[in-house]
């Protein structure tokens, strides 16, 4: 399944570079997919540009996920998968966060669909999103300890930690 790089990926990089040269830290081409690495501070501005710029028009955020590269620092890698329905193009935005302070701007203001995706990342990786309207755990119980998809969380869980008794009693606030 080797594919040639998407024909418009050059346009995306050029357009973003023309807007703000600092927005692109690195461009990775692998297996026909374009990944644009963005500095953490510029993530929301770049995302807004990707959505609003008429040349790009990435109106659909299909996926957002995190990769934990522990013990390498910066350990967290956030990947946002964008699709432009009108241009039939796709690109991935990536930003890297260190383990000490994994905080990044929320993209809910840009794509409302980022809401649950970011909640899932918060729940399973412990990455915090500033400006998120409702940053609560989504898959795990509210009083769960730790973030299971981190690499330093054992696959079988912390066996020696007693399960707290009221784990399933508390309901989600309305």
């Amino acid at each position: 399944m080797t594919e040639s790089p998407s024909p418009t990926s050059g346009v995306v990089v050029e357009t973003l570079r023309a807007w703000n040269p600092k927005a692109i830290a690195e461009v990775i081409e692998y297996r026909g997919e374009t990944t644009i690495v963005v500095p953490r501070e510029l993530l929301r501005a770049t995302a807004t540009q990707c959505r609003e710029n008429a040349k790009l028009h990435f109106n659909l955020l299909t996926d957002a996920t995190c990769v934990d590269r522990y013990p390498v620092e910066p350990r967290f890698e956030l990947n946002y998968q964008l699709v432009s329905i009108s241009c039939r193009d796709t690109v991935r935005l990536r930003t890297r966060l260190d383990g000490q302070n994994p905080v990044v701007d929320s993209l809910v203001a840009v794509w409302p669909g980022a809401n649950w995706l970011e909640r899932e990342i918060f729940d399973l990786f412990g990455v915090r999103f500033t400006g998120h309207p409702d940053l609560r755990r989504i898959l795990l119980p509210d009083n769960w300890e730790g973030h299971p998809l981190r690499k330093d969380f054992p696959v079988e869980g912390h066996r020696d930690t007693p399960v707290s008794r009221d784990m399933f009693k508390k309901s989600a606030p309305l």
């Binding site: 399944m1 659909l60 996926d63 996920t65 590269r69 649950w116 399973l124």
Partner: protein
């Protein structure tokens, strides 16, 4: 039902707890509904009851072992899950799949789409009070499950699509079985439509209910029939074709109304389109030919070779003890599942186990628009809205 104090509730409103064991939530979904009389003011979905940590489990398995886990996410679309996962691994490895295997994959996935839509139609009709449609839909679904059993030995959790191709050669008599199904099915779809499309109760429950504008649908990352019912012909099989879908002739049904009734019409039309694709795929699949790519060390050798050739035995041993190691890198593949865009993101660090496997499950993403859709609707319409978003909780919670 009692009035409770809540953060947002006033004396006039009431909070109703729906689920997690409510039959119309199709699994274990809990929704907190804030009601003013019968009108929904606010809805807060609460999920995670079926969370089994499939993504974490994948990190502790070799690439080929994780296939069986993918079956169990969206249990109405196991073959589609297999396909998304295998395509992502194959993309990481840079594997080319024989055309014959690609067509077999397409045929199986489209049969799966029909069966998934049949389950949706049947259960949704029950939710709306039409019992008989359910029985008819499951009768036809049984025929598809029999075909799956013929191909793979399993009715539901088939694990038939494997890295590098498919598991087994099509069995003797497969053509006759599928031809029989293709001959029977169009008239059966007509039957469902005769029962429902003009049915006054059905129209009354669905028309004008749960409208979501195309702008909102895109903003909330909705995909699949829900997006297509809002007028956008976005289908991964057409936009970013995979597994040779570009060689098939089919239409992408769309509607403009964007209500529950439009979603019903889109899904029924999709059943008919899938039948066309199955027919074309069957014509393309030759009687003889490879079903797996020739990639020693990745695709397990045939039993016969393993018994006679030393290299084959070594490869077999290595694949099942250590696994294979794709080069470091990431790949994202999106396929069109019956519910929308099913994506699989895999990050490899060059070891035999994936660094990270993430599934972009369409049910999960589509469900987050539910509060927006049901706002201002009647309580009974919430059931119609959940139904027509078509969620599978196994996939929502993973």
């Amino acid at each position: 039902m009692t009035t409770v104090e809540t953060a947002t509730g006033s004396a006039k409103t009431m909070v109703l707890n729906m689920g997690p064991q409510h039959p119309s939530t199709h699994g274990v979904l809990r929704i907190l509904l804030e009601l003013d009389g019968e009108t929904v003011l606010n809805a807060v979905p609460d999920l995670g009851y079926l969370h089994t940590g499939i993504e974490k489990s994948c990190e502790d398995k070799t690439y080929s072992q994780a296939i069986t886990l993918t079956d169990r996410m969206d249990y109405l679309n196991p073959l589609g899950n297999n396909l998304a996962y295998c395509l992502a691994v194959e993309k990481l490895l840079g594997l080319e799949i024989p055309k014959r295997a690609q067509y077999i994959r397409v045929m199986m996935v489209e049969l799966q789409r029909i069966s998934s839509h049949l389950v949706w139609l049947g259960t949704h009709a029950i939710d709306m009070g039409a019992m008989s449609v359910f029985l008819y839909c499951f009768r036809e679904r049984e025929e598809i499950l029999k075909i799956f059993e013929m191909f793979s030995g399993q009715r539901m959790m088939t694990s038939y699509i494997r890295i590098g191709g498919v598991a087994l050669q099509p069995p003797t008599g497969w053509r006759a079985a599928i031809e029989r199904f293709l001959k029977m099915m169009p008239s059966r779809v007509d039957e469902y439509e005769a029962l429902l499309t003009e049915n006054r109760i059905w129209i009354g429950r669905l028309k004008g209910v749960g409208v979501v504008s195309s702008r909102d649908a895109v903003a909330y990352s909705m995909t699949g029939p829900t997006l297509r019912a809002a007028g956008l012909a976005y289908d991964n099989r057409k936009v970013f074709p995979y597994s040779s879908y570009q060689e098939f002739k089919f239409d992408v049904p769309t509607r403009m109304e964007s209500d529950c009734y439009a979603r019903y019409l889109v899904r029924v039309a999709e059943i008919r389109e899938s039948l066309k694709i199955v027919e074309q795929a069957m014509a393309k699949i030759t009687d003889e030919g490879a079903i797996k790519t020739d990639a020693p060390g990745i695709v397990p050798p045939e039993r016969e070779k393993m018994k006679t050739e030393m290299e084959a035995l070594i490869y077999h041993f290595k694949i099942f003890t250590e696994g294979f190691s794709p080069p470091p890198g990431e790949a994202y593949v999106a396929v069109e599942s019956p519910r929308g865009e099913l994506g699989c993101f895999i990050a490899s660090d060059g070891s035999p186990k994936p660094l990270r496997v993430h599934f972009r499950s369409p049910s999960y993403i589509n469900l987050q628009a539910l509060p927006k859709i049901v706002e201002g609707q009647l309580l009974s319409d919430v059931i119609a809205c959940i139904g027509t978003i078509d969620i599978v909780l196994g996939e929502v919670d993973r």
